[in-house]
């Protein structure tokens, strides 16, 4: 018995599901950011696994760029979140509904 590509992809899918569930369920914006991180990491596992089982380095390259995107997303997102909190004293998703007609 050995671990195959399918096992890694199933794990990646499960982790992605957990992240998606978090995005549905959470209304706190900080928790939404956490769920997004989980989803990005799940994809990274899939990329690395495909890279290993096909013997191609391109998957790892994509994983690096995903990590770079995740890092910059957090920097800008947290800046916006701090601004929103200073203004509204809440980081609840419902406070973003101010433009609802």
């Amino acid at each position: 018995m050995s671990i195959t590509l399918n096992d890694y992809l199933i794990l990646s899918t499960i982790l992605f599901m957990i992240g998606t569930y978090g995005v549905f369920r959470r209304t706190n914006l900080l928790m939404l950011f956490f769920s997004t991180e989980i989803m990005l990491n799940a994809v990274n596992i899939g990329m690395a696994a495909i890279s290993k089982f096909h013997g191609d380095l391109t998957g790892q390259m994509f994983a690096f760029f995903i990590i770079a995107v995740a890092a910059s997303e957090v920097a800008v997102g947290l800046g916006l979140l701090v601004l929103w909190y200073k203004k509204h004293n809440s980081i609840d998703l419902d406070t973003l509904k101010s433009m609802k007609g």
Binding site: G22, I38, A71
Partner: protein, 201 residues
Amino acid sequence: MFEVVAFYLFAFLTIAMFTITVTTKNALYALSALAAGMIFISAFFFLLGAEFLGAVQIVVYTGAVMALYSFGMMFFDSIKEIKESPSNPRLTFVLTGMIALLVVIIFIAPIIGANVTAQYPVGMAADLYGTIDGNTQDVGVVLFTKYLVPFEVAAVMLLVAMIGGIILAGKKMDVSITELSEKEIDALNIETKEAHKKDLK
């Protein structure tokens, strides 16, 4: 055998940690569980022979991203329990369908990709330069030849994100509160409160 045991152990641990992250009501628990999950994910990268990626995962996620989140959390009321509200059922239905489609594609992917050949095979640095320094050298060779332009673009993107973060979060950073007297601090507080009232109107 070692690989099988390690895979299942870390799979269990990662799923448990991320489940805690998305279900707990305490923001601090969520943060700690997320950090632990990130470390466990790096174990998969080491298992898959991507040592450099595993090291980057630990340094960037648990070093940089988690530190950033903890700094961000100092601004927010993290002790307060997070309340959740039920979301739109129709949206949930549509998104669930999309996820089901995604799962089907993921499980078909190995069949579709069965006759894909490697463009940048693992170990190409050893073929080119005659030395075997493992995964890090391979990554370096590919990153600085084929992916040089995306690498530079990513660097610019990180710079833009850094400047954006500083500008967004660092307003009034030219005023140092530690150097002010108490009266000046009080005046500053009143000023910001009035500004907030204006913003809310």
